[in-house]
Symmetry: C2
Subunit: 455 residues, 2 copies
């Protein structure tokens, strides 16, 4: 890095400092949600010509911007084409916003960027200069539109066969955007989501592909496109890919076994249908929120396992939510390290820095406390059963959008709690990661050490 | 510490090394449970003269040794006096065993004992020599019997008024032992536990006192008796006392508010009765397992909050279970530290060492995974509702003994899962704490650092 570059980085830093990224993120999202709520509240956003009411509009807008997919009204039945396009735009802006912000924050504001990472960054994005910033955004936009474009074409071909040309193309575009952004909104109607297509290999395949790539995160996709060899990938990409595969496979096996003889879900499907449906459930649970099975028909252990997957979620700098695959991986490796009496948390022959481990733990614990608080409040305000409440809250936190059916029956306070949980689940971990990236205040006085017994 | 003392400590260390403390603990407890199971399986252990069957006997024995209090048969109705005395002995041995082992392990095997702690230890127990070991055990026995003795006398006075002299004294002793050891076993009959005494100030007061002191842990009790001034206490004692008070008060307020107008619980009680019942519920939830209210009558948020309290549990080196108050305190302070961008986790003007924090986190995460796995398996094997299953599992892990009523309806596999969960919940955290106390294996090769994105 020569001198001029260094100066430019400084300018860049100061520029972003003035804007206070945490504020951009929180207020930007809140403003977008508010605008969306106002638009969706308009009578013209509804098919019936009657407004759905501001709270419902705000709920829908939050769900779209936070790419969650929980719905209090059916998107196809309730909203006019104008309303539906507003929702699609909110999804796209929410998804892109998070992906861009997250990538920028992680790559540019991370205080302790190693030489190796800086080289990877420069190689990959050439964004150590201000022009790099523009380039980065362009890269992200391009990647998004390529994936969504391919998805839309493939889906349109299939949907045209069912709905005719114009509606088929419209459905192709809407669902490609919704799937790549892990939003989970659908236009099938009657809260059915993709259940009519449970055995359709094309729709299942395309949607799963879009969800998985959208959930990997931009940095990983870029790393993959550039290196094409697992060995040369960054540690982050390796961890994300390994964990994603592990979760997808274990989810598939779990759902396949638990639902095999459940006549309401896999029981009556063809052998291929069983495999497709179990795979789709595994893919969708970790943040996408589409469903080809009716979730309330699942067995109790499947519902519980879905909660576990929803809590973990997708990968950082992606369109997905949850505590993130890498966070979970670090926590698991930390436990292994301590149980094996090793000194360093090592993954793929690299040492994970101490503050990196701490961040992971803090994100995990805060997420737990958030889900606990939110579900605790709902047990006071709602009449639903406990499993449905815990499911709903985790779904909102992980911006998943799956539900056991209580979303439409929420009280007004319940709706507000879920709105806040979606918002916190979406901007929270990122804001936290940012705040944690800031320089640590060196204490003036260091107190003496003293141990506390635990366990 | 002079030379001869140093030699003696070395001898002591080697002596305990040969015995492998983790093995003593695990096999000792398993053997005690087995012997208890064989005894309780005898026809003479039952009032009816018919054996309750080995699985039920093993369940009861595990519940007694692990001082849990979950019961598949009613202790008073089912067991003969012989059977009941076996149970009381198992409780006493289980409780003392854990308290002694834990204190020994924490005080003697802790590898990184600071000078200050060593001084505190010597002051308090003078156990840096082999004779100190005997003294320590004697101290623990003495403390236990003083508390249980006072409790037994007070309870006997009250019970004599109800049950007559001989039964009154027997009940006084049994329940004092059960309460100080946080066991939760009762002889009231018909699974009623202390519900008939919900408004009885003496029984409530004595039982609560025994539970609280039993749950503080021997080191804290000793520290308290010796110093009598909060300022001079060890950091550990300060943290345990503060956290215990905070949890007791917040539990009381929560239950008082949530149950105030619930006609099945506090609703029909007198103003004093309401306060007593809410206080008792707050005290019992964090590991004792007695109940003056029927738990299945509680509102859903109260049940959920009870799960939270059961998971946290009592304090280290006590008769109680859970992840422990100090573990929870460290995790919360760690989050505060990181959110406040501070460098050190500071409590009461002391720095908490890094490995201490790691231990706390590892214990918390492993406990979560244990409760998750165990309850997940139960959702497969049992027909009960989800909240009851999560409640039962957390109760077993935290060796609490409260139930929403499904213990007696468990399938055979369900009973085995709960037996294993009680055992893991009892010896697990301690074994873990021990294993974590062992010297860390310095790696031969240290890999280069590389960061992973989280959140
Ligand atoms: K979603
Ligand atoms: K107990």
């Amino acid at each position: 890095m020569d001198f001029s570059e260094a100066v430019e980085i400084k300018i860049l830093h100061f520029g972003l400092r003035k804007l206070k990224p945490t504020q951009i993120l929180v207020f930007g999202f809140a403003a977008l949600i508010l605008v969306g709520g106002i638009l969706l509240n308009l009578p013209s956003a509804s098919k019936s010509g009657q407004s759905i009411g501001f709270l419902n509009a705000l709920f829908t807008s939050t769900s779209a911007v936070c790419v969650t997919g929980l719905v209090v009204v059916d998107t196809q039945t309730q909203f006019s084409t104008f309303g539906q396009i507003v929702i699609m735009c909110l999804i796209q802006m929410g998804g892109l916003g998070i992906m861009t912000m997250a990538t920028l924050i992680f790559l540019l504001l991370g205080k302790k960027i190693t030489l190796r990472e800086r080289i990877v960054m420069q190689e990959a994005l050439n964004q150590s200069t201000l022009s790099g910033l523009v380039k980065l955004t362009r890269h992200i936009l391009l990647t998004t539109f390529i994936f969504e474009g391919i998805g839309a074409i493939l889906l349109s071909i299939r949907f045209t066969q069912i709905y005719g040309i114009s509606k088929g193309i419209y459905y192709g575009v809407f669902h490609a955007v919704s799937a790549f952004n892990n939003a989970g909104f659908d236009l099938i109607g009657g809260f059915k989501n993709f259940t009519p297509f449970v055995e359709d290999p094309i729709i299942n395949g395309v949607i799963m592909g879009l969800i998985i790539f959208g959930g990997l995160g931009f940095t990983v996709i870029h790393d993959l496109l550039l290196k094409r060899n697992f060995k040369h990938l960054s540690l982050h990409s390796k961890v994300v890919i390994t964990m994603t595969l592990l979760l997808l496979v274990s989810g598939f096996i779990t759902f396949y076994c638990l639902e095999y003889s459940n006549l309401k879900t896999l029981g009556n499907l063809s052998p291929t249908g069983k495999i497709l449906a179990a795979a789709f459930q595994s893919v969708t649970a970790r943040t996408a929120g589409f469903n080809t099975l009716n979730l309330s028909d699942l067995t109790m252990p499947s519902k519980y396992f879905t909660i576990f997957l929803m809590f973990i979620g997708a990968s950082p700098a992606s369109t997905g939510g949850g505590i993130k695959t890498s966070t979970f991986a670090i926590i698991i490796m930390m436990i292994y390290t301590i149980l094996a009496s090793k000194e360093d948390v090592e993954i793929y022959q690299r040492r994970v820095p101490m503050d990196n481990i701490f961040k992971a733990v803090v994100i995990g614990v805060i997420a737990l406390l958030l889900v606990f608080t939110s579900s605790f409040l709902l047990t006071i305000t709602e009449k639903a059963d406990f499993l449905s409440i815990l499911f709903e809250t985790t779904s909102a936190f992980g911006t998943v959008g799956l539900t056991l059916g209580i979303t439409t029956e929420l009280t007004s306070i319940g709706k507000i709690i879920i709105i806040l949980t979606m918002f916190a689940g979406r901007v929270g971990p990122l804001t936290l990661a940012m705040a944690l990236g800031s320089r640590i205040n060196k204490a003036m006085i260091r107190f003496p050490e003293e141990r506390i017994l635990v366990g």
